[in-house]
């Protein structure tokens, strides 16, 4: 009996540390980092759309996109995780995370096209609407996860609900293999959620 309070105390300390860590992780980025990241996105879009690399055009575009980025800094970069230096973040994203995501999604898109063709020919469907749980909480992360689930084979996102700090997705599955929530979530989400959890919280 004397061991129980110690055990509870250890457990409480662990939960407290975990909560502090989560709070630190979910802080917003500093203001200049948000402005710089938004400016990079907007300026690359400007260069691609105008298709003109003369110096005048670049200077005008840089000033205009800097003004827009200083106003709109919360729109794109609100939900990005707070980790590492700015240059480290950009290099990791361009060299590691973006190619990983593109390769995963390209193969899944091809597979889903073939699966729809197979379903059309043989009509072997058993549809069901399943509720699964995700670990993501931010709006941008849940949006990208729902879009990726819609493009993966055999699933279509219907709705999102947030209750008591947990996020649930309702998924229309064209061949409902299992009704267990954990197994269905593992099968539907795959490794996309692991990927998204590194960037968005």
């Amino acid at each position: 009996m004397s061991r129980v309070p110690f055990y509870l105390k250890e457990r409480l300390e662990e939960i407290h540390k975990r909560m502090l860590y989560e709070k630190y992780e979910t802080q917003k980025l500093p203001v200049w980092e948000r402005i710089t990241l938004t400016w990079i996105v907007l300026f690359s879009f400007w260069v691609v759309i105008t298709a003109n690399t003369s110096l005048d055009n670049l200077i005008i575009g840089g000033i205009a996109t800097l003004i827009i980025a200083s106003f709109m800094r919360d729109m794109l970069m609100e939900d990005v995780r707070h980790r590492g230096h700015l240059i480290e973040k950009i290099i990791y994203f361009l060299l590691l995370y973006a190619p990983q995501y593109l390769i995963i999604m390209a193969f899944r898109l091809i597979e889903s096209n073939m699966k729809v063709a197979k379903n059309v020919i043989f009509m072997d469907i058993k549809p069901g609407i399943i509720k699964i749980k995700t670990d993501l909480h931010s709006d941008t992360g849940v949006t990208i996860l729902a879009n990726s689930i819609t493009l993966t084979p055999g699933t279509l996102t219907l709705d999102v609900s947030k209750k008591l700090g947990e996020t649930y997705l309702y998924v229309h599955w064209i061949y409902a293999e299992t009704l267990n929530r954990e197994k269905a979530g593992e099968k539907i989400k795959g490794d996309i959620e692991e990927w998204l959890k590194r960037i968005f919280w």
């Binding site: 898109l109 063709a117 609407i129 399943i130 819609t150 064209i174 409902a176």
Partner: protein, 104 residues
């Protein structure tokens, strides 16, 4: 060579998507065919165009922006149509409906 393969894959995916819209039983299963086959077919056709054309690099980048916008917008529209159909009262033909359990 690879651009002809991509073009053929896109065309076949589009044909099967149209066939799926005609053959599946209700709204939600038809949306499956519409979303996936349209996204995959349009994106592979755009990739084939990017490889095939000998225009400047900016034209190719504009086509790539177009493919990105298609991949972003198409699932969102299908989600909006599915939720709207459910709110309107169209019952899905399913074995289990957990959305109706939580929203009676």
């Amino acid at each position: 060579m690879i651009e002809y393969l991509l073009l053929a894959f896109g065309e076949i995916a589009m044909i099967f998507g149209a066939l799926g819209i005609l053959r599946f039983p209700d709204v939600y299963t038809r949306l499956h065919a519409a979303t996936k086959c349209d996204t995959g077919g349009a994106m592979t056709i755009l990739l084939a165009l990017i490889i095939y054309t000998d225009a400047s690099i900016f034209i190719k980048l504009k086509l790539l922006v177009l493919a990105f916008l298609i991949a972003l917008i198409n699932p969102m529209i299908s989600h909006a149509i599915a939720k709207g159909a459910y709110k309107y009262g169209i019952k899905p033909k399913v074995v289990v409906d957990m959305y109706a359990w939580d929203n009676p």
